[in-house]
Symmetry: C2
Amino acid sequence: MSKRVNRRIVLAARPQGDPRPGDFEVVERPVPVPARGQVLLRNVLVSLDPYNRIIMGNANSDQPALDIGDLVFGFTIAVVEASEHPAFAVGDHVASTSGWQEYAVSDGSDLRPVDPRSAPLTANLGILGMTGLTAWVGLTRIVTPKPGGTLVVTAAAGAVGSAATQIGKLRGLRVVGVAGGPEKSRHLLEDLGVDAAVDHRAPDFPEQLARAVPDGIDTVYENVGAPMVAALLPHLNPGARLAVGGVMAQITRTGGFEGPDRLPDLMRAVLYKDLTVRGFSVPDHVDAYPEFLAEVAPAVASGEARYAEHVVEGLETIPFAFQDMFHGRVTGKMIARIG
Amino acid sequence: MSKRVNRRIVLAARPQGDPRPGDFEVVERPVPVPARGQVLLRNVLVSLDPYNRIIMGNANSDQPALDIGDLVFGFTIAVVEASEHPAFAVGDHVASTSGWQEYAVSDGSDLRPVDPRSAPLTANLGILGMTGLTAWVGLTRIVTPKPGGTLVVTAAAGAVGSAATQIGKLRGLRVVGVAGGPEKSRHLLEDLGVDAAVDHRAPDFPEQLARAVPDGIDTVYENVGAPMVAALLPHLNPGARLAVGGVMAQITRTGGFEGPDRLPDLMRAVLYKDLTVRGFSVPDHVDAYPEFLAEVAPAVASGEARYAEHVVEGLETIPFAFQDMFHGRVTGKMIARIG
């Protein structure tokens, strides 16, 4: 087994702005051998997330960054190929954190069993995985919207955003999705069933937004960052709450931002409207996974909660697919099938 | 009694930026006569607050604004001169909302009895009044700092800010006060007993701030607005919380703010540091008054909680004193003694 090759994607250059395929390199290593208490995993699905870009580092990030030559960390669905661990058997499917590579060993501490019969395997990376958990934590632990209120989800056609729209619907909220381009508006309305869709790239974006929230906005699930927050501010109701789960429009930006300065507008609104703006990161909330799954998995099984996926084939496509994700060309959860 | 004159300060012109004495006019009206169920109040102390400026309106405010010719609404301490109300007797001292005038009638619903023997009368407008309650609500209901953490209070030599420093000390926090000028730093250290003082007007403000928060910042009581928030951001610890009780530096600003745009910096910090930024207004929390008073009044009586006041004499001085307050020339709670 150790003579087999493990292909892995490592960081070849620190991305300047948006990631480019040339920032990555596929290297070959021997397939590792599990020690006692470990399992050998063969990754079959790899999750592509904005988080991957954040950990690649730039001037804007306070997160520890990957070093050049490091494997790109990330979520996968894997099959247990060999087990020296009593809790895992050969053939088991697991969710893992083994990253952009074909094989990995694990001591089991990062693994979560998944049942390939209860939902499509891909859903375990998307609406039933960390993606869905992120949206659920934002709308459960970070803000707690009241039924009947208006929820605006930004980057609503993206992986976390689309999960947030569905959780909002399950909670009885009026859900307004904001995304870029008419096709995404169609997707939000027809495929995801939101109550209103707003195209932030349209010339009449301000008017679309105003029409979509006639009673103002009570809750925001925010994925985008400053430009979207500034656009939503005038429509926020007193006591509105913003769960900040992403800053997609800012992740790849380096250096300063041109004026006018919109921070005073935010601070004024925070005070005069009693706003709460609250950030979070889902690794602090993995204990919520069972509670999340108990609510969302049945809704996925029944079709009440919908989701979209964008699945590409092959490890070598990951750098190209990853670039696409930052150009707004992807709808739903982005996954690479590699085995 | 009805032939006596009631002098009242009304809005003569909507202030453009900082308020100026010419924005106000003293008009004379007959002293009102209380009907059944009302009391006649003679105001003896008038509270001057940033809130008074906010309600005068400008492009930046979402609050309902006073109209030209309206009495300036505000807090006072008054003596009951005549009573047709069973709960109030002639000679009683009360806190009221009767505004910048000598006499007023009230049905009692806005009145709170004050005991002139338990604390100086002025303290009932300051650390034991709405001013102190504002600081207390911010550090109790809006954020809940843990003992031992570092609290930064901005505009710390002002009325609400100085109350926040004292409540922070009562809660066992390390309290850092930020104010403008060396005299205010001295006041914070020597009179109010903060752990460190930072002069935001000093050329070495960034270094002073860095030295004052060697373990970072866990909690901010924020009174100032965007410039101060931007300066504090790099020092905020993960999970830090900001209670936004004022935007003093922005109240009188009209129009936009020059770049660079600092909203992206805030949104990034909110996400990457799991920040909570939360505004509030104290009228929503007047039910907290008894609990607040139970904690703070004994500390004021014992001298453990300290406070400063700036008392001017006479109704006609109010427009000038009010202007001074916006030029940073006032330390502590500003009060006009008018009777």
